[in-house]
């Protein structure tokens, strides 16, 4: 937690410098959190173009809010609250429909993970793509809030308390969301063992 506390101070300090007109500090925040925000949004909406557009909007809102920023919460909590809000709105507006329709095709665009030193065979690539497609589909079928909770828990390694603040619910509600989500995923992905 010491590291997290230090990160809180550093990010909040940077944001306070942005508030005072220091553009370079905004650049540092962007550099530090850009990938996490884009990856979270991509896994939420499962569409490259929409995820990029939403990530731009997230950082634009951060910049716009600089004059009223107060470090009342962890910077990443605030950042992911904006990102989650935009992602949930986009999903409700059906902005990601193009991505959902082309789910099969878009898997081919992703890099194939190389497990050993040797290049993967065609068969290994096909198996990998099929597994990846199953994982994506299993996650995309989760209810929106469960999906957001799983992505923040698994990929962003957030604590229950932080996820609760992002989603605007209690810690026990987050535990319940995660338990149900992982229960569904265990059932859908059991054959992958």
């Amino acid at each position: 937690m010491g590291g997290a506390a230090a990160a809180l101070d550093y990010d909040a300090e940077l944001m306070l410098r942005v508030k005072e007109g220091d553009g370079a500090s905004f650049g540092l925040l962007l550099e530090k959190h850009r990938s996490a925000v884009i990856h979270f949004l991509y896994r939420m909406v499962q569409n490259h173009a929409v995820a990029e557009e939403l990530a731009q909007e997230v950082f634009l809102r951060v910049y716009r809010s600089r004059s009223t920023y107060e470090p009342t919460a962890k910077f990443t909590t605030w950042l992911f609250r904006i990102a989650t809000h935009l992602a949930l709105n986009a999903l409700r507006d059906g902005k990601n429909e193009r991505g959902q329709e082309s789910l099969d095709g878009s898997v081919a665009e992703l890099p194939v993970r190389q497990i050993s030193d040797a290049a993967p065979t065609v068969e290994q690539s096909m198996v990998y793509r099929a597994r990846l497609e199953e994982v994506r589909r299993a996650v995309s079928l989760l209810p929106e809030k469960q999906r957001a909770a799983v992505l923040m828990h698994k990929y962003e390694e957030m604590e229950y308390s932080q996820i609760a603040k992002v989603l605007g619910c209690s810690e026990s509600a987050v535990k319940s969301l995660l338990f149900r989500a992982y229960e569904t995923l265990r059932a859908r992905l059991a054959h992958m063992a």
Binding site: R34, I38, E109, V135, L185, L189
Partner: protein
């Protein structure tokens, strides 16, 4: 250790174990328990499968021009409506605007200089004004020259047409 499956914290404890977020003492206690508890072992194995499956899902790389596009949008937000109107023409204006502005400045300066009363060039005087300035002696001399010329012409004309003179 009490069975996590039978307590309210079962999910939290087992999920934390699969996510490597339990402290070493708790993890060791759970592992000892799982050796003799098939239900917990089964839960942990299924959760481990999910965890590993999610690990295979890599997000695509961040687009190279992400920051540039963001800063463009931030910059555009700082402009007034008329600045935004001219925003698409900015590169052209920056490239060609300086020579055009310089040419316009030169034209304006030339106009100002030409209009200055102190340096106005005198307009050429009409011929009548020049005649007035000619002296009387000059006129007399010219008339004498013309008379001499007339006399000379007459003299040479007589010589030319007279057969006796040949």
């Amino acid at each position: 250790m009490r069975c996590p499956i039978e307590t309210e914290e079962h999910a939290e404890t087992l999920l934390a174990y699969c996510a490597n977020r339990l402290d070493p003492a708790q993890a060791a206690a759970l592992e000892r328990h799982m050796r003799s508890c098939a239900a917990c072992r089964s839960f942990q194995e299924a959760q481990q499968t999910v965890w590993e499956a999610l690990d295979t899902w890599e997000a695509p790389p961040v687009p190279a021009d992400f920051d540039r596009r963001l800063y463009q949008r931030i910059e555009a937000e700082g402009y007034t409506w008329w600045q935004r109107l001219f925003q698409p023409f900015r590169p052209v204006l920056l490239r060609q605007g300086l020579p055009l502005a310089a040419a316009a400045c030169l034209l304006v300066m030339a106009g100002i200089i030409a209009q200055r009363p102190g340096e106005r060039r005198p307009a050429p005087a009409p011929p009548a004004v020049r005649v007035e300035s000619v002296q009387a002696e000059q006129v007399e001399r010219t008339l004498d020259d013309l008379e001499l010329l007339h006399q000379f012409t007459e003299a040479t004309g007589v010589e030319k047409h007279s057969p006796d003179s040949m």
